[in-house]
Every structure is written in C-alpha cells, then in structure tokens.
C-alpha cells in the first residue's frame, strides 16, 4: 500500500522525505547519546527493553485478547460493546495502578511517598467503572425491550 510513491503529489513525496530525514536524525541523535552516555548502563538498558517488548507482545497483549474473548463470548450482541469497553478501562487502569498496588516505592523515612491506601483506591476505581457499565447495560436493555419486543422472545 505504501509502494506507489510515483502516483502521489509532489507535496506528499517531499513531506514523506522530510519526515523520514528528520526522524532518522532524531532517532540517530538519541541512539548515539544512549550508546555514549556512561550513566546509562547499556546491558541493563537492553535487558529491560527486551523484557518490556517481549512481555507486551508475547504475554500481556495475547493474554488481554484471550481474556476479552473468553469473558465476552457468552454475552448477547447488545451487551458486548459496553463490557468490552469496561474491560479495556479495567486493563489499562490496572497497568497504571500496579506499581502503586505493589508499593515497592514506599520508604520508611518518607511518609509522603505513596501515602494513600492504593488497594482501596483501585477497588473504588473498579467499582466506579463497573457501576457505570451496569447503568449503560440497563439503559441498553430497556431501550431494546421498548423498541424491539419481538427480538426478546
């Protein structure tokens, strides 16, 4: 799909060249800085990056897709979208909350570091998300029975 540059107007061709040239310059500057900055420990850096990339692509995302498929499999069509949306919100909220829930950043000498009860906070967030979802489902169910009673039989 990206193989037909000859058919494109000149402005697009030049925009693409400029973007790619600027991108190569920026990424090259970052890579050179990374490789020469002695405060970055490169073996640790690459190990971490590989773990995050493979962990996302081969574990977290497939697990999320499989969980979504299993959890919404038996739902009727009208109920699926709100539940899928709520699962997306739940999953991404969990990513943000996880370092706080684990609480390794707490420090005995600093009561202002991670000062809240994050387990409670996380449950409050989940309760809010799923209460809204339940309300949306209730509205959808009522609208459905009101407008299309035949489909219910």
């Amino acid at each position: 799909m990206t193989r037909t540059p000859t058919a494109l107007p000149a402005s697009i061709v030049w925009s693409r060249r400029l973007l790619i040239a600027a991108g190569v310059t920026g990424a090259g500057y970052g890579a050179a800085g990374l490789l020469t900055d002695t405060s970055v420990s490169l073996p640790h850096y690459f190990r971490y990056t590989a773990a995050v990339l493979l962990g996302h692509d081969l574990i977290v995302l497939p697990a999320a897709i499989a969980a979504g498929a299993v959890l919404t499999r038996r739902l009727p069509g009208w109920a699926k979208p709100p539940v899928q949306g709520a699962l997306l919100v739940t999953a991404t909220l969990t990513v943000v909350a996880l370092p706080l829930l684990l609480g390794y950043g707490r420090r005995p000498d600093d009561p202002s570091a991670l000062p809240r009860d994050y387990h409670r906070g996380y449950l409050v967030c989940l309760a809010a998300v799923w209460l809204v979802t339940a309300a949306v489902l209730a509205v959808r169910a009522r609208r459905r029975t009101a407008s299309d009673p035949e489909e219910n039989q």
Binding site: V52, D57, A64, G105, A113
Partner: protein
C-alpha cells in the same frame, strides 16, 4: 476478537495473522488512534525537553522566573499526558497486532528497514511509558540503569522513529482519514465505541491521578502517587534528611552559611540569617515526577545576599548543599531567578521553622523551577563572575 486455536496445525507462521478475526481493526481506526497518540507523544516530548533544558541549559536556552507556576503546569502536563497515553498505546498496538505475525516477515530490503524502524518505535514507546510509570511510583529496582538519562535519550529515539513511521505511512493515513466513514461490520464494539472506551480510560486514569498536582482534585485522585497535603508540615518530600545523610550536619549548632562574591565572603549563623529582613513568598514546589504543592515560604531574598557580597546585576548564583553524594548537590540560579525578589533562602515554611526533611537550616525556593533544583540544606552560596 480472536478465534481460539483449534488444531495445533493452524498455528503455523504463515497462518498466525489469520487467527485474528476482529473486523474492528482497520487503517481508519489505527490512523485515528495514531493521530491522538502522536499528539500525546509530541506533548510529552516538548514538555520533557523543556524540563531537561531547564536542568541542563544549552547556550541558546532562556527560561524566565515568571509566571511562578509555569513549570508546575508543563511538568504536570508531561506526567498526566504520559499516563493518559497508556490506553491510547494499548489500543494502537492492539489494532496492528496481527501485522506482527505477517509471513514472510519482510518482502524486500526496504520493507525490512521499515519493520526495523517499527521495532524501535514500539520498543521505545513501551520503554518511555513503563519507565515513567515506575519512576512516579518511586520503584527504581526494575530499572537498573539511570532513569533520567535513559528516559531522555529514548525520548529522541521515540520521537525520531515516530516521524519515520509517519513518513512511511503518510499515504495510508491520508487515505484512511479522508475516506467516507463506514461503520465496521463487527459483532461487538464499533469504531466509535472503541474510541469512546479509550477516551473513558484516559479520563478515568487522569481523574485518579491528576490530584497529585491539582490540589482541588486530591480527594478524587485515589491513585495519585503523592498527595499535595501529606508530608512533614503538610508538604510532600522527595528526599528526607536521613536519606540524604545530612541529619547530623544540618543539626550542628556550629552551622555557618558561606556566602561568597566579588566583595568577599560572609559566614552567617542561622541567627544571623534570621536577624536579616525577612520576606514571604507563596510558591509551589513542582517536582519532575509531576506532583506539586503550594506553600508559604519566609526567608532572605537571594538577591540581597548576593548584593551583600558585591554581586553585579545579571549575575548567576551557585548553591551547594550539605548533601555529599548526589547529582543534585549543586544547582545554579540563572540570572532571571537570581534577580527575582521571590527567590528566597527560606528559613520557614507555612509559619514554622523548616522541618529537616524540607531542608533545615535553610533551602532555596525560587519561582518557576523544578523541585530537584530547589536545593535543600544549603551550605554555600557563590555569586558567579
């Protein structure tokens, strides 16, 4: 979503991409998510570069001391945008996930280079988001490299590989965004539904965290890594006196502040400092980690201390801490901040003598400046030529 694998022979590389059956995936969806994610990356890059330049100013760089809360806004935006980008990045990567298993992996050399740039893009995006999350949660052990410089250089790699990606995909994106809107024939969510869910996730994450810098929302932000009201004297602390190893030096009754300039050197005890005319300023502490809190500070204006040792107008002032082993032991107040009457050598906060964790015996507090440069436990003040 996904058709769960039946017989194992279906999991052959040539067929893997066909396991993904959602009709929701399309260039239209990916382009829309990409535009939003690109905007988020741009905001993070610009605010992040700004924070870097304030701390390591290039020769051409100028940063004013007013408005007093500008850095609090730019850095609060940096962290809030990064957090809100979590669902955007998740949805964006989901929308193109089957392409990861394309077989054969590349058609020709040009395609191989393009896929290599995608590898850089995805790796650097995941790196920036996850290290940012770990850093605001103060969880450093998974990152056995120096976060600050690694996050900075990777930001350039992310921005660069994003521009390459945009250049490569520009025709696809233009076609997708100008195509007539046709609903995706899905069994579940619509395209608009997914974008709504991503927006809802970003809104929920923002509401749950932004109170760490917006005090009125502190009660709502149950997942804020900081609470602007919690800490010694009602103010958060990033490094305690104990962690900085200055407890004994700060409490020493023989403490003298050394003030050096063209006209000579003054050695001032805490009582000497308290006997000088005191000024009060209401200024925020704005941390690079995205939290901020306003307090009322009282002390001696730096420009008066500098004038007492013969500083010329427009001089910079270097401040050294009692703290020994820290990259932030020394900070330099550039001319606008050194001359600003609100820049104080503070002795008191919110009407009380400074708590050791807030920098007792005295600390720097200047307008529009990262908290990490607001040097605590000040030992020496030098007017630079």
């Amino acid at each position: 979503m996904v058709r769960l694998p039946g017989p194992l022979n279906r999991i052959h590389p040539a067929r893997a991409a066909r396991l993904f059956t959602s009709r929701l995936r399309s260039p239209q969806l990916t382009s829309r998510l990409g535009v939003l994610l690109g905007a988020a990356v741009a905001v993070c890059f610009l605010t992040g570069y700004l924070s870097h330049a304030i701390q390591h100013p290039p020769a051409w760089f100028y940063w004013p001391s007013r408005p007093v809360g500008l850095y609090r806004v730019t850095q609060g935006l940096h962290v809030a945008t990064g957090l809100a980008a979590v669902p955007l990045l998740a949805a964006k990567l989901w929308s193109v996930y089957p392409k990861l298993f394309r077989w054969p992996p590349f058609r020709d050399a040009a395609h191989a280079v393009e896929r290599l740039s995608l590898f850089l893009l995805v790796a650097s995006a995941l790196f920036q988001i996850t290290t940012g999350l770990l850093n605001i949660a103060l969880w450093y052990s998974p990152m056995s490299f120096f976060f600050t410089t690694a996050h900075y250089w990777t930001a350039w790699i992310l921005a660069g590989s994003l521009l390459i990606h945009l250049g490569v995909k520009l025709p696809v994106v233009r076609r997708a965004l100008s195509a007539p809107q046709r609903p995706a024939a899905t069994a579940g969510m619509s395209r608009r539904g997914l974008l709504t869910a991503v927006g809802a996730a970003a809104a929920a994450i923002t509401a749950a965290t932004v109170g760490q810098t917006l005090r009125p929302l502190a009660g709502l932000s149950v997942l804020g890594p900081r609470d602007p009201q919690i800490g010694p004297q009602g103010l958060p602390v990033n490094k305690s006196a104990a962690a900085a190893g200055v407890t004994a030096a700060a409490a020493d009754p023989g403490y003298r502040l050394e003030v050096t300039g063209p006209a000579g050197t003054l050695r001032l005890s805490l009582a000497d400092l308290a006997a000088m005319p005191q000024h009060t300023a209401v200024l925020p502490i704005a941390c690079v980690e995205g939290w901020s809190a306003t307090a009322t500070w009282t002390g001696v204006p730096i420009r008066e201390l500098a004038a007492a040792v013969g500083a010329a107008p427009g001089a910079s002032v270097r401040v050294t801490s009692l703290e020994q082993d820290s990259p932030y032991r020394i900070s330099t107040l550039p001319p606008p901040h050194a001359a600003d009457p609100l820049t104080l050598l503070a002795l008191r906060v919110n009407g009380q003598q400074l708590h050791p964790d807030h920098g007792y015996p005295c600390r720097i507090i200047a307008p529009n400046r990262p908290g990490v440069l607001q040097t605590k436990w000040v030992a020496r003040i030098e007017v630079l030529p």
